[in-house]
Amino acid sequence: MAKIRRNEKREMPALNTSSLPDIIFMLLFFFMSVTSMKEVTYKVQFQNPQATELTKLEKKSLVRYIYVGTPTAEFRKQYGAETRIQLDDAFAEKNEIGEYIINERSSMKEQDQGQMTVSIKADKETRMGVIADIKQELRRAYALKISYAATQRTNY
């Protein structure tokens, strides 16, 4: 005969969570492989221009970045709203670019020095005068391989 058990407390069986770490690790590896580390903390804000004929930058260790844009809100008071250049973690003047490039190049392996690429990450509103100055500085420092950072254009 069926017995109705009333008094016995029914406990929920413990959920087996032993596979949870594996799932999380999978997620972790996914993110590790699709993302790239942020190079620096941005002190300037910029929105990349759009283009279609893009090539991916290869060999991250051989790429140096020059950021061009207006200072972010927290630096606005100190530096104003004019377009500024950022090298590594600090604001820089355009005449410091040459020195920076030469320093960075000498820290590379000798056989890699010719492969160095400079990526110019500039805001799309930037005036060409600033960009032209940077280009002249790069020419003088013999950093001739450059790349204008841009995002893929989706519509025309």
Partner: protein, 193 residues
Amino acid sequence: MAKKIPAINASSMADISFLLLIFFLVTTSMDVNQGLARRLPAPIPPDQKIEDTDINKRNLLVVKINSANQLMVQGQLTDVKQLREKAKEFILNANDEANMPKLFEEDFGEPFGVLKYTKEHVISVQNDVDTQYQAYLDVQNELVAAYNELRDECARKYFHKGYNELDEDQQKRIQKIYPQKISEAEPKNYGGN
């Protein structure tokens, strides 16, 4: 009898991996680094006199961008969307016109044979100090696109494959037929503020 090893408590494993996951989520940015690759000309030594390189006028395509981001190609106001076609026409000079670059015949070897190409053409981009970066990049992009399209067409004609699928040697040979010659002048103030 073998001693039974007690199971290691792995319940904190999930927490540890969560921590790692969150760390990576915070420190990484999704955007891939891509851009328009260009090569700058070597600097002119200060003691060297700047020579006026004598470029025949027919070999020169002048693209000017003013401070209002308007485009002038060979003295004509042009939309940026038409630039690619104009550049291709100029680089090819298929009909051997007198105001387009001079054609040279050269043997490029198998499978090209003897081809006519504009060896000495130069596309000169001149921009104003106040030109917007996006407008400048649009022009650069269209010019690079013109070369890429020509090279791709050539690759499909002779190798029956896209330019990007060819090996390095084949790409180099096509580059010889369509050498990329985009010159950039120093920025000048053309006015029009």
